[in-house]
Amino acid sequence: MVLDIYGFYDKMEQNNIMLSFKGDITSDLLTSILQIMEAKLDNWQEEPKVKKKVYNVLVECLQNLYHHMDEMSPNQDDKIRSAIFMIGKIDGQYNIITGNYIKNENIPNLQKLLEDINLLSKEELKEYYKAVLNNGEMSLKGGGGLGMIDIARKTGGKLQFHFTPVDDNYSFFSLNINISQ
């Protein structure tokens, strides 16, 4: 089978994807992606306000992927540990998409967290954030949903997500974040 590289290119072009990555998410990779994106945002002379928002949300999205990789046991095959990330800009709106495998048993908790967040108003999100910040148990890996709450607060929109069943043990979790200006 010949890889349809033009098909990939065309799809990315249509969706105005400016950067994408698939594979192992490491700390060094995140540093590089953030540097590249910061340079791009500077080049386009985005307003500082927009730039900061995009950068902040990007950090949280990428670090979600990074911490998620930690959860997968290291002797898991590479496929399961791999993740995908894309950022695009359509009609002046930034679009961050992430995808990673998730154990089926972990879906209900994540789904509930995201659905709960999506029900909250701006003011309620602020209170929820403060409550989790002040009382929530923080592991080395992150903050009990604090990242998702922060993304919802900063973007002001609903978190769009989907779980695609893969097999008896795993599904593929995708998250789509829009940042309007």
Binding site: Q35, K52, K53, V59, Y66, Y129, L133, G136
Partner: protein, 126 residues
Amino acid sequence: MEAISIEGTPKTPTVNFDTAKGFLEIKGRSIPENSIEFYKPIVDLLERYASKPQTETNVNIQLEYFNTSSSKCILDVFKKLEGINKGGSKVVINWYYEEDDEDMLEAGEDYQAIINVPFKMVQVVD
């Protein structure tokens, strides 16, 4: 007198903590994947400082970006400062935010609502 002086990196902030002057400053970016490790020496030194603090303790927080992993650690720093403020040293936290950076101002206000220490919101104009 003990002190901490850490140079900033693309993911971690510049930190200066001079216990002799009662001055703590954290500035730059705080977006490491694991923040607990980075903030531990600061929290530990605050713990020791709390036993014999200066009469006044001034704290400058001037962050351009910080992630949610850091936000909990910054709260831990502020909780130590809350104890020091109760213990007799007059603590003031100066929270710097850039003009137009409403998210950073709001983040400061979140801490202000949680922590019982006087906060000063300081707008930085380019």
